[in-house]
Amino acid sequence: MAQLKLEHNGVTACGTELYLLNMGPQHPSTHGVLRVLLELDGETVVQATPVMGYLHRGLEKLAEARTYPQFIPYTDRLDYVSSMCNNLAYCQAVEKLIGAEVPERAEYIRVIMAELNRIASHMLFIGATALDLGGMSGMMYTFRDREYILDLFNLASGSRLTYSYVRIGGVMNDISVEFIELLRKFLADLPGMLTEYDNLINGNEIFQARLKGVSIVPADRLISQGVTGPVLRASGIDYDLRVKKPYGIYDRFKFAVPTGSVGDNWERYLMRVLEISESAKIIAQALENLPEGPVMAKIPKVIKPPVGEVYHANETPRGELGFHIVSDGSTKPYRLHIRRPTFYNLGCVNALCQGVKIADVAAVLAVLDPCMGEADA
């Protein structure tokens, strides 16, 4: 529990006190069950202590009692707005462990799905940020467009949120002609959607004024906290695993990694907006080169990896999602650790919140884009 520091800013001299405000776990803008203990001097935040664990389900322990394929649905429930990326990271980790080769077509489908999911997640982010800043309508527009992607996923995997579509050795099933047609239509419509967001949300003076110049934190601080993803890139660090440590077939695609220069909330927000169009570029390239062939490799029914361990990380919409799997040669992992990007990103809440107003705490939480299912695992 944070101690009240009465000496701060000489506040004792004028007879005022700091006070604690317990924001969450039930609060409109904490994106789930995050609790932030705010130590406040009037409206100004002196100290912000994130308290996590309200959604802890013991996924890492559960994994030890599940066979390797059985754990895939659990990865859906990590960061439930980018399940495809989680599936992909886990499956690639297991494939690395057993040394499986994935068919070409499956690799391309995986990239399409992961990038689509990135767009969907960033759309949700844009809407949620607008909502947290008080702009009620923005959310409806981004959610409308996200719905197209969810429909696509529904077509491919039969579900809208927890896909379990990426499987060890490939993907669940092939994508249909209808899927590809709808996807092309979506890609054609996407620039129009982004223009709409620009007009309604990004271009708004108040919206920009609320984010620009707020919560500037030096990049080395973020690196020392283990922050990854768009939050880190906004501070000018060009660190994207898709480029730095290409997994799957990402080295075949041409795309830019947007990086910021100032590292304020506005750029953290902007990174996501820019990434949407980059993801669209990747999908277009993947669609163009999509080969024919099987979508599933010949994988033994019972997966028994050799003794050893593996760490594999993917770039999810929120940062570096890594799976560290230790195998003892049995059908179940001996130990599975998940490096959850949101968990590390939330670690810098205090650094970002110090000195800002209460209203900006909501903005900071919004641009960190936490997903408590992932942070608490």
Binding site: G134, G138, N204, A359
Partner: protein, 347 residues
């Protein structure tokens, strides 16, 4: 003035004469006449709230590509009635740690302040509850009384979110009330009177929005702040303060706040229509219909703001109020003065 006796003036007179004929006592007739006015204003507030809740939902839905309420009755028009029944039948929860008197009084006081502002609103020629010679001043004075109940609610709720919200009300009031008053000054200077009916009559030829555009914009912004609506809804600020001073209220007590908020919005729209949009002046249609149309347009503008703008931050509101709105409104007053001195040197 043209005593072409609009519908409402005639109705008031008829009531007065009927009571006079029945009782024979002029004071009874006067009392009934006054009470009829009070009832009239109350019904305007309640009815407008009834309609506005529905309209707000429909406008919001329209801006968000939704349908809005459409289950209860044709086009969902009975939705508000269902809402009221829900609010009335809700349990009256009083949290254990509140200060009961202050906590219970706050919503009533706020609603009173909102209602009192209607006394000086000229709905039509001759249809004004009290045509005071300090009409605008009365509106500003009573309207700013809304601050106190909010602070009371915030303080008495014994809740930190509520208290921060209550403190914000006061801070916000200081920064927007002054530009608001200054923006009204230009109109008063041109008219040479604070009486509402005089102001409306002065606009028979040209609406003041033409001669006082800056004042209108300043008034518009400041009145959005006064009615605590987005982008200045810092007091409630859902994503920060849950519901601000209203956090601990439920059921009808909360409904009082809600009602007062709508009453203030309608009141601010009425004043805008009176001062800048020519009040009841307009061709062909009866005055009260013109007034109604203008108020409705203003209300739509408020709703439009609410559903498209994000919320401004508290320090930004302060600096905006003091550094932009206040100088702008003072400049407007000075320019108006110079203009009057140049073109109407007699005054």
């Amino acid at each position: 003035m043209q005593e072409s006796a609009s519908l409402w003036v005639g109705l008031g007179r008829a009531i007065k004469q009927a009571v006079l004929a029945a009782t024979g006592a002029p004071w009874v007739a006067e009392l009934v006449h006054t009470l009829a006015g009070v009832v009239g204003i109350l019904s305007i507030i309640l009815l407008s709230a009834l309609v506005l809740v529905y309209l707000e939902r429909k406008v919001c839905a329209w801006m968000q590509m939704r349908l809005g309420p459409n289950r209860l009755g044709p086009y969902g028009i009975f939705q508000t009635i269902a809402d009221i029944i829900k609010l009335m039948t809700k349990e009256d929860i009083q949290p254990a740690q509140v200060s009961p008197v202050m906590w219970g009084l706050a919503p009533v006081l706020l609603f009173m302040a909102a209602m009192t502002t209607y006394a000086v609103i000229p709905f039509d020629a001759g249809v004004i509850f009290a045509d005071l010679n300090i009409g605008i001043f009365f509106f500003v004075a009573v309207g700013s009384q809304a601050t106190l109940p909010m602070l009371m609610a915030g303080w008495a709720s014994n809740n930190k979110y509520a208290m921060v919200g209550g403190m914000r009300t006061v801070a916000q009031m200081i920064s927007y009330e002054i530009p608001l008053v200054f923006s009204l000054l230009g109109v008063v200077m041109i008219t040479g009177s604070m009486k509402m009916s005089d102001i409306v009559k002065a606009q028979e030829g040209l609406w003041f929005i033409v001669t006082q555009p800056i004042a209108f914009v300043v008034y518009l912004i400041a009145s959005v702040a006064e009615t605590n609506r987005t982008p200045f809804d810092l007091v409630e600020a859902e994503s920060e303060l849950v519901a601000g001073p209203f956090t601990e209220y439920s059921g009808m007590r909360w409904a009082y706040f809600f009602l007062a908020e709508y009453a203030f919005m309608v009141g601010a729209s009425c004043i805008a229509a009176t001062l800048f949009l020519g009040g009841w002046n307009g061709p062909f249609l009866p005055g009260w219909i013109w007034f109604f149309i203008k108020v409705a347009a203003m209300i739509f503008l408020f709703m439009w703001f609410r559903w498209t703008f994000p919320r401004i931050r508290v320090d930004q509101l302060m600096s905006f109020g003091w550094k932009v709105l206040l100088p702008l409104s003072i400049v407007n007053v000075v320019v108006t003065g110079i203009g009057l001195w140049l073109f109407f040197p007699l005054v």
